[in-house]
């Protein structure tokens, strides 16, 4: 016979209250024992209730508590990755479950600080008292939580903003051999956010980078005034592989705080090659089967789930964004290796840097032919789009014809004109480090070049002429500069004003060139 006083709301409230009450009480802990230890990996017997990625506490020598996280869950054994020194752990050590997964402090308290992947300060500053903590591993926003990429994230590098524009919420890979200026591009992008006062928070994740390099970078960013809107998550080459593996996820969690709070953040993973290598080390030590290049089968997934967290959120969720610039180092320019192809297929485009261009003095050494931005076009400002549209094609034509012209002395005027223009454009796109351009500077240079103004200037003086053009514009047309900086397409009258000044500047450089010729 059914009772008449049943109520699902009452039953629900009762069980929930009982759960809350039981959680308060001290309970009998389940304890495991370390059976084997070495290379940052501990094998633990017992703890059958451990969850995947759950934090474990190992009793180390001298009362030390070593944190590890469960990574391999076997029927009778757990493979755990240590986050601390393994020399303090001996076989037979007791292990306890923490009931928590890995978390890092997040929030504005971290801005201006250098931290490790667990949120501990590395800059000698006080402990971080963040109000919030976030899980290191979090699912990426779903389809309905997102919006198309439509706002530009200006790097300040003319070659990128004009030919491979990046939008807020995009994932753009920076790929190239060692010493080709990959980090320089990422750092310049951070500097530009400060110079143009975009309010974008930079998160720089150093994965297995030399600590001296990180210290130098921090000092430089401080000098440039960029540290005030930057967080560095640092791991060195001597850190355990587990920390290197966790660093980008911790960085993503830190960046997500700003994304989810209606702000814009930029995250740089420097670099994911070292991240994949750290994961390969952990996987092989955990006896997971090796696949291509000895990487485990899920190496694609570790990068896809990380990069998917970069997103432009919908208006409903505050329209914040997290833009990711992962970096991949290639060997001898081979972009068809396992990790490069994986990350190329995950990201929304890539900026490919070539060693040859770098040593020819073309810096940033961006290969226009191999670089692409799949969604950035929608985010490019109208003014830059109007002048950058044909730039990629002009440069590609120039590179092709330049190669042919080496075999021939007689060139028809049209070909010669393309080569001459291409040489000047290449010269114009050269840009020293730490000097990002504002929108008006880019527009003025590209517009003048596109109109053939610099065709009369000797190649070696193109950069000087460009600087003079910027100086003149700044002195004579301050209002026009303001208008150009909005990114709107300039009117014919405004273009006319730029052209007039550009022609006058070009004339002075042309004459100087003639004088020099006569003197010679």
């Amino acid at each position: 016979m059914a009772k008449t006083d049943l109520s699902i709301t009452e039953l629900s409230a009762d069980i929930r209250a009982a759960i809350a009450e039981l959680k308060q009480r001290p309970e009998i802990e389940s304890v495991g024992v370390v059976t084997r230890i070495g290379d940052g990996i501990a094998w633990i017997y017992g703890l059958s209730a451990a969850g995947y990625n759950e934090m474990l506490e190992i009793e180390g020598l001298g009362g030390r508590k070593i944190t590890a996280f469960a990574f391999n869950l076997g029927e009778d054994e757990i493979g755990a990755v240590l986050l601390g020194e393994d020399i303090y752990v001996k076989a037979g050590a007791k292990v306890r479950l923490s009931g928590q997964v890995l978390e890092v402090p997040v929030g504005p308290e971290l801005v201006g600080r250098v931290v490790d992947p667990l949120g501990k300060p590395l800059d000698g500053g006080p402990a971080i008292k963040a109000k919030q903590r976030s899980r290191v591993e979090r699912p990426a926003p779903g389809v309905l939580d997102r919006k198309g990429v439509h706002e530009p994230l200006m790097t300040g590098i003319m070659a990128i903003d004009a030919t491979v524009p990046i939008g807020r919420g995009q994932r753009e890979l920076i790929i190239g051999d060692r010493q080709t200026g990959k980090t320089a591009i990422a750092v310049d992008t951070m500097v530009n956010q400060s110079r143009q006062k975009t309010g974008v928070i930079n998160v720089y994740v150093a994965i297995g980078q030399k600590l001296s390099k990180i210290a130098a970078l921090q000092a430089r960013l401080k000098r440039e005034g960029v540290m005030d809107q930057t967080i560095i998550v640092a791991t060195g080459p001597s850190d355990p592989a587990a920390l290197l593996y966790l660093a980008p996820y911790a960085g993503a969690a830190i960046g997500e705080y700003f994304r989810d709070n209606k702000q814009h953040a930029l995250i740089i993973y420097d670099d994911l090659t070292k991240h994949a290598q750290a994961y390969r080390q952990m996987s092989l030590l955990l006896r997971r089967p090796p696949g291509r290049e000895a990487y485990p089968g899920d190496v694609f997934y570790i990068h896809s789930r990380l990069l998917e967290r970069a997103a432009k959120l919908s208006d409903k969720l505050g329209a914040g964004s997290l833009t990711a610039l992962p970096i991949i180092e290639t060997q001898a320019g081979d972009i068809s290796a396992y990790i490069p192809t994986n990350v190329i297929s995950i990201t929304d485009g890539q900026i490919f840097l070539e060693t040859n261009l770098f040593y020819q003095g073309i810096r940033p050494a961006i290969s226009v032919g191999l670089s692409v931005s799949r969604v950035g076009g929608n985010a490019q400002s109208k003014s830059i789009k109007s002048v950058g549209g044909g730039l990629k094609l002009d440069l590609a034509q120039f590179r092709e014809l330049a190669a042919f012209s080496q075999f021939s002395t007689d060139l028809d005027p049209e070909t010669r004109q393309i080569i001459e223009r291409g040489q000047r454009l290449t010269e114009l796109l050269k840009q020293p480090q730490y000097s990002p351009y504002a929108i008006w500077e880019m527009y003025a240079s590209l517009f003048a070049a596109g109109q053939g103004v610099f065709d009369i200037v000797p190649i070696e003086k193109v950069k000087a002429a460009e600087e003079a053009l910027h100086r003149e514009l700044k002195a004579k047309q301050p209002k026009l500069i303001e208008t150009l900086n909005t990114g709107d397409k300039p009117t014919d009258a405004q273009n006319e004003a730029i052209l007039k000044i550009a022609k006058a500047v070009a004339e002075t450089y042309k004459e100087t060139a003639k004088k020099v010729d006569k003197e010679q």
């Binding site: 009772k3 699902i8 039953l11 009982a18 039981l22």
Partner: protein, 134 residues
């Protein structure tokens, strides 16, 4: 040994139908869910329990509305529910205050829902006029 959720729900439904709600039994369920780390399954368990109760003729309907329900409306709801569960021996209408529904009432039944709210009508209108776009 992990017990399937349906088995657990059936046990809770049988026990409550037999002896009513008991604080001690509820504590045992809570302790079991905690020890098995399955507290996140509680909502699903409760939904199954509600369905099992309905099968036994004990139908509880959660009526979400922005305004207090009138006696006539409650009688109407009972009649509608009776139509859905002809074998129901007892129908309990539990009121849930939800300002988001604007007007009308949404009936949440075991594994079923009858949405007669203004909110639902507006959503339908939006779908028809803008193909779901904002």
């Amino acid at each position: 040994m992990k017990q399937p959720r349906t088995k657990l729900s059936r046990l809770v439904a049988d026990k409550t139908l037999k002896s009513g709600l008991s604080r001690r039994f509820n504590k045992e369920v809570a302790a079991y869910l905690l020890s098995q780390r399955r507290t996140t399954e509680l909502d699903s368990v409760l939904r199954d329990v509600q369905a099992d109760w309905a099968e036994a003729g004990y139908v509880e309907v959660l009526a979400a509305s922005a305004h207090p329900l009138t006696a006539t409306l409650i009688t109407d709801i009972r009649q509608r529910v009776k139509g859905l569960y002809p074998s129901a021996k007892r129908i309990i209408v539990t009121e849930v205050f939800d300002p988001a529904v604007i007007g009308g009432v949404r009936l949440n039944l075991p594994n079923r829902q009858l949405d007669l709210t203004v909110q639902a009508k507006l959503n339908q209108f939006k779908q028809l006029t803008t193909s779901g776009k904002d």
